[in-house]
């Protein structure tokens, strides 16, 4: 057993942390969030060229550093700490994940584009009617010569306004909620038949509703529900790492603030009820770290073990996000309510992570099914 990072992994963490500290301060982020485009392509370029982190989880033959899920975890925790908007999760973790595991004909090119920073991916999986069920798909894919054309409405596609490509789940067969007949497609953002409606998200990112209407797409994998689950599990583990970064900031920020803030002639951190609250925040955070490690290390196991690990991590993270977020605001008093302080923004991101790729209830149910069987 070994929970230590290798030298390379430590270097990876330090270099991204240093970069974000210098170039991704809270005020700059606020300005970017409010800007027309809502992100900074030059940051993405720096990720690719200056830091080289976009290649972190790819093998050397693909032009990467030979890392994997642990590298994603390391990057995502820093993403969480700085509230990075740029779409590492959907591009590197999800886009990269589909390319790696499917090995479809365009995989190498896609990975090359990701590592080089030219290819930016958004994952169009959710649909208005489907809640968190990955198989609930009305979007259809029809064979059209060598390729396919897609038709359907995809909901809340995070990062879509910036993407060069979408990875889209669509039915090649089966009925609406069946796990068979789920295909995964690569669609160029500039392809025909796409109507997109962009909007900001409550935590400072951007997303879109996307309507595909006979839009051409390349098949990444057919009958691929298992692959969708696998990549989504990898995304959830990475998201848990982001949550750890967010939670660290919520905890640290609250500790700092309550030590400085004086009421009744004493730092409010000296009040025992607040101390216990911060201890509970700390315990939640520590266990979030543990669960994130556990889930990340089990991503290579069979589908059932992997699913149980990831869902239990997401359950804990969802609850811990709520506890840390709400109490960080509470302990800041009025200051927690203002948009001018970073703490409220960490709370908002923590809140969104609670629901991303499935709520606490969703993952509790999934855990129960995997652990006790469907009949239980």
């Amino acid at each position: 057993m070994d929970f230590n990072f290798t030298e390379d992994q430590t270097m990876l963490r330090d270099s991204i942390a240093r970069y974000l500290q210098d170039r991704y301060d809270f005020d700059t982020r606020r300005k970017v969030v409010a800007s027309e485009s809502g992100w900074r392509p030059e940051v993405w370029k720096a990720f690719a060229e200056e830091l080289g982190i976009l290649g972190a989880p790819f093998s050397e033959e693909h032009g990467g550093f030979g890392g994997g899920a642990i590298e994603n975890m390391i990057v995502m925790e820093e993403v969480g700490k700085a509230l990075v908007i740029e779409p590492y999760l959907s591009t590197v973790v999800i886009g990269g994940g589909f390319a790696k595991h499917s090995g479809f004909a365009g995989a190498s090119d896609l990975i090359g584009g990701i590592i080089g920073g030219e290819t930016i991916i958004a994952f169009a999986y959710a649909e208005p009617q489907g809640r968190y069920n990955l198989a609930d798909l009305k979007t259809t894919a029809k064979k059209d010569g060598a390729g396919y054309t897609l038709t359907g409405h995809k909901a809340v596609v995070w990062g879509a306004p910036w993407a060069t490509h979408y990875i889209v789940t669509a039915r090649t067969g089966g009925s609406q909620k069946e796990t068979s007949g789920v295909g995964v497609f690569l669609v160029e953002a500039s392809a025909s038949g796409i109507t997109r409606r962009d909007y900001p998200t409550v935590d400072g990112s951007r997303a879109s509703e996307i309507q595909f209407d006979n839009t051409p797409g390349i098949l990444i994998a057919d009958d691929a529900y298992g692959l969708v689950e696998q990549v989504t599990d990898e995304a959830i583990a990475a998201l848990c790492a982001e949550a750890v970064g967010v939670q660290r900031k919520l905890h640290e920020g609250t500790l700092d603030y309550t030590k400085q803030r004086k009421q009744f002639g004493a730092p409010i951190a000296s009040f025992q009820v607040l101390q216990h609250r911060m201890v509970d925040m700390f315990m939640n955070l520590e266990q979030s770290v543990s669960m994130t490690y556990m889930a990340t290390l089990k991503l290579g196991e069979d589908a059932e073990e992997r699913g149980k690990a990831v869902s239990s991590a997401k359950v804990h993270i969802g609850r811990a996000n709520k506890f840390l977020g709400q109490n960080a605001i509470q302990l800041h008093g009025g200051m927690g309510m203002t948009d001018e302080l970073a703490i409220g923004h960490y709370f908002k991101r923590a809140t969104m992570i609670e629901g991303l790729f499935g709520s606490v209830d969703h993952h509790l149910k999934r855990y129960e099914t995997l652990s006790f069987g469907k009949a239980a």
Binding site: A126, P128, Q129, G130, R131, Y132, N133, D136, H153, A155, V156, W158, Q176, K177, T195, R196, R197, Y199, P200, T201, V202, D203, A207, E209, Q211, K262, Q263, F264, G265, I268, F271, V273, L274, K322, Q326, I329, Q330, G333, G334, G336, M337, T338, D339, E340, G344, H345, F347, K348, T351, M352, G355, S359, D361, H362, L364, K365
Partner: protein, 404 residues
């Protein structure tokens, strides 16, 4: 002991219900349904209708415009307003400063301020909190010095800063706590001043909250001249008035009726929103259980409030139970918004402030209720912070009820 309303209470309920149904402005209803930000005129439109009817200030003494309703009738009134989801009457004028004015004010002050407040001609803001004085309100440092003006009249010269001042951007007048004797013990050197917000030297700066709303402000006071006759009660005795006001601020804070209405709305949402299996979320045992638990907790709060009301009817003042009602009421209100956000699923993420939900192209962005779900959840965090934070309320119960 029994739980029935008397027949006259039932008749009263019907009367009130009909009045609201017939008189509530339709434009306001539309704006509420759309989740639009309310303008000053919006807030005042319902206020003015109620003022005309004589119902805007049920708790005032009858001679001053109160309704003389029994506690049960007042309870019914708040239930019916919530049921009809009317825009709340802002508390600062009617429920906060007016009781201070009619309890501690001079006849001139009563004449000048009470009718105008009643009719919605004066919009009040509350200038208590300061950057350095929140929970420890008595630690406030905004300074007021007595001076004689060029006109030979007596003034206070006020310097300092207030913060979190709700809707001060609309305010005509503010009631402020200021320090008139910096040498006295904390609570003993404070005075209660009414200040015209148009007085030179006052700057109101918006503070945007995490939901994106402009609801609170910083108020800077720089050499603001306030006529001495705008002081309520004795100099250096402002704390007495302030404490009296805080008791008023807490009553009604349980929000039982609004939470009941909120649960009804939540049930409506959850019976149309799909769960993971495509069936309504309300048939998901896990979601349903959370709604059930919330209802049960609300019932516990409701009957606690009813017991308090019954006690009041027998002449017991709103006591320290109000701390219990505040804590539980705000916790329930917050959980409610949390469940609405959970029900929104993916559609909790889109953010529409300053961004048209309609228009652009026709692609719909989720169900209507979802647009306000996250901002409302964020905004409601304030309720366990203001009005005496929930930690401070627990301190009060520990000290005053449990004698610890």
């Amino acid at each position: 002991m029994n739980l029935d309303f008397a027949p006259e209470d039932v008749a009263f309920r019907d009367e009130v219900r009909t009045f609201i149904a017939e008189n509530y402005p339709a434009e306001l209803r539309g704006k509420q349904d759309e989740g639009e930000e309310m303008s000053k005129e919006d807030f005042l439109s319902w206020h003015k209708i109620l003022a005309k009817k004589g119902w805007v200030a049920p708790s005032w003494p009858k001679a001053l415009g109160g309704t003389g309703w029994t506690p049960t009738q007042k309870y019914i009134w708040s239930e019916e307003q919530a049921r009809a989801d009317t825009i709340p009457i802002l508390p600062f004028g009617i429920n906060m400063v007016s009781p201070v004015i009619y309890t501690f004010g001079t006849d001139e002050q009563k004449k000048k301020f009470l009718p105008a407040t009643y009719n919605g001609e004066i919009w009040w803001c509350q200038g208590y909190s300061e950057p350095g004085a929140g929970s420890d309100l008595a630690g406030l440092s905004t300074r007021a010095e007595r001076i004689t003006g060029d006109d030979g009249k007596e003034y206070y010269l006020v310097n300092g800063q207030k913060t979190w001042t709700t809707l001060a951007q609309h305010a005509d007048w503010g009631f402020f706590l200021v320090r008139t004797d910096p040498t006295a013990k904390k609570q003993e050197g404070i005075s209660f001043l009414l200040i015209d917000m148009k007085t030179p030297g006052i700057t109101v700066r918006p503070l945007i909250t995490i939901d994106g709303a402009h609801e609170v402000n910083e108020v800077f006071l720089e050499n603001v001249k306030v006529p001495v006759e705008n002081r309520i009660f004795d100099e250096n005795k402002g704390w007495t008035a302030a404490k009296f006001l805080l008791a008023h601020e807490r009553s009604g804070i349980a929000g039982v009726a609004r939470s009941k209405r909120g649960i009804e709305r939540l049930r409506g949402i959850a019976s149309t929103q799909p769960g993971d299996d495509g069936e309504p979320l309300l048939s998901d045992p896990m979601f349903k259980r959370k709604v059930a638990e919330l209802e049960i907790d609300l019932t516990a709060l409701e009957y606690t409030e009813l017991r308090t009301l019954a006690g009041e009817a027998q002449g017991k003042g709103p006591g320290v139970e109000s701390s219990l009602l505040k804590i539980k009421g705000t916790e329930i209100g917050q959980r409610l918004t949390d469940l609405v956000l959970e029900a929104a699923g993916h559609y909790g993420a889109p953010y529409f402030r300053g961004f048209p939900k309609e228009g652009g192209n026709a692609l719909p962005i989720g169900p209507d209720f979802a647009a306000r779900a996250a901002p409302t959840y964020f905004n409601m965090r304030k309720t366990s912070i203001f009005g005496g934070s929930n930690e401070i309320q627990r301190n009060i119960i520990a000290k005053m009820v449990l004698g610890l």
